[in-house]
Symmetry: none
Subunit: 214 residues, 4 copies
């Protein structure tokens, strides 16, 4: 019968590995659709998103699209999931490598975000669209809020450790600093006529403010 959209989004990467080959293809199909939708949102905004265009871009019939996503709404949620995972994965990857000092970890994290902002601004543009939309869409809000909380927690951990090691300024409030970093990056994607170099240097200067200058 119809696939229950609700269950799909909650499948995490691990589950998908275990899934039988049959539904693996099905999951691929969903991915194709989500990617098509993502691309269209990036270029036309959620406002300009048309299910027909998504289907066309994914190389399938409009009916098929609705077979996988019973609603445009759900499709958009699928895009949110995609983005969140896409960025979350990166954070995990970063935390995978140990041995590094908190300063180095934070540096890499910020450098990575800066890189993404420059190389794949679409992701952030789409993210912006979705954040704005989340104000009127509970489902999206939930997902994004969760991701945001994870991000903040990650930053706080790094900051706390760095402060303890006397690498970051002693008067740094970890939570507020995390907050500031997050705001800074979210805002960076709203900068008009953003320049790559300018952003990198701004981020670097920002990073400097956090360090302990003895």
């Amino acid at each position: 019968m119809y696939q229950d959209d609700n269950t799909y989004p909650h499948m995490d990467a691990e589950n998908m590995q275990v899934t039988a080959a049959g539904s693996a293809g099905s999951e691929d199909r969903r991915q194709e659709i989500v990617l098509a939708a993502f691309g269209l949102i990036a270029s036309k905004g959620v406002e300009g998103l048309r299910t027909r265009d998504v289907a066309a871009r994914a190389g399938m019939n409009i009916g098929t699209l609705y077979y996988y996503f019973s609603t445009k709404e759900r499709l958009i949620q699928g895009v949110v999931d995609y983005i969140v995972q896409h960025i979350a994965v990166v954070q995990n990857a970063g935390s995978g490598a140990a041995e590094k000092t908190p300063v180095e970890v934070l540096h890499q994290h910020l450098a990575h975000l800066t890189r993404m902002l420059i190389d794949t601004p679409e992701i952030f543009r789409v993210m912006g669209e979705l954040i704005l939309r989340s104000e009127r869409d509970q489902a999206i809000y939930q997902i994004l809020k969760q991701a945001d909380d994870d991000w903040q927690r990650y930053l706080i951990n790094v900051l706390v450790e760095g402060i303890n090691q006397r690498l970051f300024r002693a008067d740094l409030d970890p939570a507020l600093t995390a907050h500031a970093i997050m705001s800074f990056f979210k805002g960076a994607m709203l900068q008009l006529g953003l320049q790559a170099e300018e952003l990198e240097r701004t981020a670097a200067q920002f990073e400097g403010w956090l360090l302990d200058r003895r």
Copy 2:
């Protein structure tokens, strides 16, 4: 008269004062419409903006609305103008009082923005909507870019003066710092579940990073 929408975006506040008394009422009418549109964008986003709703909210017929704004597009530009002036006016007001040190000026500026973000988040929400939209709408981009440049120039001036007076850190790059401040505030409006106090303290801490600690 202003029926000719094409001239409108180039009109600044002064011009409007000078306008003949006859069309003053006409201008009021436009304002009502813009305000109605603003309110609707705040609650439903540009995506959810319907000319009919705007007309209804402004207490007029849909036909009448089109008499003042020949296009939905132009109406939105009207909203952009409105917002830009609304914030610009504030900056001017702030700079009106002299005698204050750059640190005090910046502090007041930041405090003011923080207050607005907390008290009238709609303005920022709408601003966010419009910034995102500006990526696909040249006319909007132009207006916002102009306002952004003005803002940055203002910040740079304050920062330069403060650095010269050894009030701000000597190693501060004025342009990048202005950039950071702007990003921070733009991003703040995208924070999910923003808390008033948290924002105030984050802004305060941020401010502290700029000061010279000898």
Copy 3:
């Protein structure tokens, strides 16, 4: 602004006379639409009713149709109103002339219904469609139930008077007899391959059963 569908259907013939000329034309337009819908239901059933076809048949744009009837549902209710009034009016007209004996009144009533069933079977076919639909549509049920109650009351009045005058069988239960008459006519419209003469004679015989044979 939009016309409130709810108010229109409740306007009865008198009110419309009083209404300003402006909305009289508007009411005409609604009538055209309802007639078009009626015709289409008659030939294709409610199931086959397409708003686009209705608009085309009424010689107007689909958007215009929705300007008058905000919903297909409401349009159908409009048809129900139309039919109910169409038949109700007839009953009133019949009762207008006095001087007749109850037997004559009933005879004319039945003869009239029979005639309609033969001459304009569409009305009854559509009625049948709507009655069936009323089981799943409260709004329609209400209107039809009201009309039904009126009809029954009318029949009971005639019957009671006739019984008192010893014209109808003394053992006639007015309510049940009215019920029987109503069922008979409703059922007549469901007869397959209905023949005019056959129906007339059946109705006549039925009528005979009600008379007092001393």
Copy 4:
């Protein structure tokens, strides 16, 4: 086998008994589908009938359903067959017992119909839907017309015999009376807010009209 839908409408109950055991299961499957469709028509009308829902209710895949019924149209015809047989069987059962006077036979017949109308109104509701549809569907018309003719013939037989035995009114026209009875019952199912007791008493009174009162 019966996969060939074309032959199906012409199969009568006996043929099905004779069918090879192998396809008996197949026939069961068809029955399940028809029953599911019947139930759905009862609650949502033919208009609301969805092949997918039917399949779901019958606990099978939509593709499987189409294996048994190549078309929605044919499925509906299957329902018509089912109903006709369901009611026809009853009539035969009634006529199975002899020894009874025509008055008793008719009484039992009417009582039985009344009972069904009260206990299983769905059957009649569905019947109504199908009769209406028969006006636009030759195949359905044929089946229903056949059943109707059988019913009328049955009634005429009983009536004629009763008249000859001076049990029914002498002036009764058998054909017209049968016609009246049939109309009455068909119409009874269209009564809004039908009450069990009311119907029974109306039917009883109706019955009384047919009797010879010397």
